[in-house]
Amino acid sequence: MRWLVLVLLVSCISPAFAHNQLVVDIMSSENFSQRYNEFLNGRSPLDVQDFHPTTKGSHIEIIEMVLLQQALFLGGETREVVFNPKPSVNIIEFSDMISGDSLILARSVWHEDILNYRGSLYVSDAVVEFGDYEAGLYVTKRNIALQNLPKEQLEQLTVVANPRWRVDWRALNNTPINIVSFIGPWETMLNMVETGIVDAMLVNFSVSEDLLLNFEGREYVPIQNLKMMLPDSRHFIVSKRHPQGEQIFAALNRGLKILKRKGVLRRALIQSGFINHLVSDWQFINEDMMATTGVVQ
């Protein structure tokens, strides 16, 4: 009897408990929790107003975790958010999201990656607008000559790129740069730069003061005064099949609009260094791709 009471209690509480939490999927490969906690530094994610980085390295994914929670909250979704790590393959293929097994993803996705799934996914307003995503061509720090390569001589440059990163691939394809196609770990690509197989690699600008990228003691710097625009926008996605999908998406998009209106979204990107003020006057390599005539976002 006592057991029966206990079972009944649990069965009653757990939905209630579950009801009080919002499970957000996150890529297990990204070691988010430590960096996330370091960034929060004891703050509640909902209270974060200052998005300046407390850790080294670009951390758009951490900022997005915070922004997602703030948007949901502002949109009326007051439940506590719980992050649920999932294998990256699942997330890239969006199969769980399509089937409704997953509700929402903590990481924004490139718009072009989910074009064909828009029937199954709610796509939020852009977290990163088209044209806001900038990256540099990182070369080894000792390669002084390449660091000052002028735009006119880009055809001399060889860059490694992953063709599965469609946006990077397209960006590079609209420049005179030579591309070496490589499908594999990011670290290996960096190592290709290190060992001189290629000259450079397209990497988000580092938030450090001199834009220096330090990876396992090796240092990389961007080619000065040149930046690449990654030609797509990034969005949060919510499953249409999930029972809570519609509700959560409504809250999320509502909240995002509020954040955008309040300027929090842009401030977050700027303060975090994602939109890097150090390169604001740098020259675009692929500015032609920005053509906006006739495009209605």
Partner: protein
Amino acid sequence: MKLHWCALPFIWLLSFEVWANLSSSNSSSQKEDLNKMLGQLTSQLKEDYDLNLLPQIRVLREQSRQLGEKRLHAKSLLLEGLIRQHYGDYKNSLVLHNDALDIVTGMNLPELEAGIYLALAQLEMSLERFRFAQQLLERAYSLITKNVSNEHVSGLLAEYALWQGTLHIMRGSYRQALMILESVDSEAQQELSSQLALTRAWAYLSIGEYLNASALLKLVSQEQAALKENLRLRVRYKLMSAMAHLQAGQFTSAITQANKALGETFGTRFLNEQSMLQKILAGAYAQLGDFEQAHLYLKRFAMTEQALNLQKRNNKLLQLEAQYTLAAQKQQLSVLEKDNALQAQQLIQHQQKIDNAHLAQQRGVLGMLLVVLVFGFGYWRWQNKRYLTVLKRQVAERTAELAERNKRLQALSFTDSLTGLNNRHYFFSIIDAQVNKNTTTQTSTGEKHEMIFCLLDIDHFKKVNDTYGHAAGDTVLQSVADILKQCTRDSDLVIRWGGEEFLIVMPNMTHGEAAEAVERVRRQVECFPFVVNEQAIQVTCSIGFAPYPLSNQGGKSLTWEQVLELADNGLYMAKEESRNAWVGLRGLSPPFNAPAEQLISNYKNLINSGHLLASTSYHS
């Protein structure tokens, strides 16, 4: 490939041009026929790239070539190029296109030239050589905007925009594609505008703007005639529709459209479209929850992709091979160049060696020349010296000889040739020296040793000459000379004084000794058996002598000439007195004193008076 359907506007352009041609040139019925043929072929090509059209195209090409119709020739090449491109023979297609370009270049046909550039750009896009394609498009654009006549500009610009837009989509610059496609004047020809709309829809769909795409697709759907006629256009339209439905979440419609399109593409080479359709189907089925169908189409999609990738790989491989061949050729060339450089270096070294050898040779020759010169000089010097020595010796010899001759000459000049005695000339040359050398010494008997001047004359010599001839006279003279030589000392001078007169100078002799000597001479001559003409004759002589030095009482010495005159006076006196006699002056009898002139002129008187002391061989 993705682009094959895009070739249609080009075909349309060709036909357009052909009809234009037709209206303008009716001169030749043959040309007209050919133009008609081209028109038919291009319209047939619109339906599908039928391989059976190739023989006709080749006939057209051959005939137009024979007629010298370069336009038609170029167009026929392009038609075959298009078919080859459609069937994946990119290499030959490229060759044909370039052949056409070669024909058209310089013919001032900018429309056709621009068209060829656009076709070439399409070809490069098929090969995913986007940079080349971009360059070709820019060239075409430049031709269209600068050279093409106004009537054709808008059509060609629309076509250019279609290609440029397509290229942008292929490179992933969708917004750029939209910009260029929207810039096109919609007045363009129906079919082309449908394609432009479809490409625009494609660009919209690529950035997820399915609503805009749907609107465009709705417009295209109204072009029933074009859709009915053109398979490619139809498939493309359905593909875009399916894509738009999928993005809109209308899975069932998407599946319906995609299936229809797939049905149309069956048995054709629309691999790109097939792949896209299969992917749409897989996506749509999956989102509908029909995973079995999704899996099926995913599998088909994978197979099509694999086929496409194989095709791409083949093309890339061909490109790589071409590049590798080029690289290998370059390498070979560089090796050859290096080899050449090495050989050139070796040649230079050889040349240097030869030069060095030449130099050494020259040095050697120079050295040898120098040695020879030195030797020659030495030899010359030696020879010279030797010659000089010889010369010197010769000179010395000559000098000696000359001296000898001179001596002989002198001797000759000093000698009387008849008697061998010295002559007066000799006497005068030495007498002064003899006189100075003479020293008067006193003997123990008180007599003085003096230099005795003694003159001898043959008595009646003229008679001998007259009687016996001059030869007899000469013999007498020779004999007298011999006697004189015999009767005198070596230190005495015996001179033939002239004619039959002889002078004897006897130094260091006392008066007595002189008297004895002259007496001996007188006697010898007197006794000598002269043989003249084998006849013995007698000859006598008269002699006078005087001593030197001779001083008068005043202490004044007489000169040897005066003494000689005194001797001559003595001779004269002896002749005068007796002949065959002698008169010798001893000195002045003291205290008699008279000047020399007086002594000479009064010689006989003074003797006779005893003022002059003299001895004679006769007794007066």
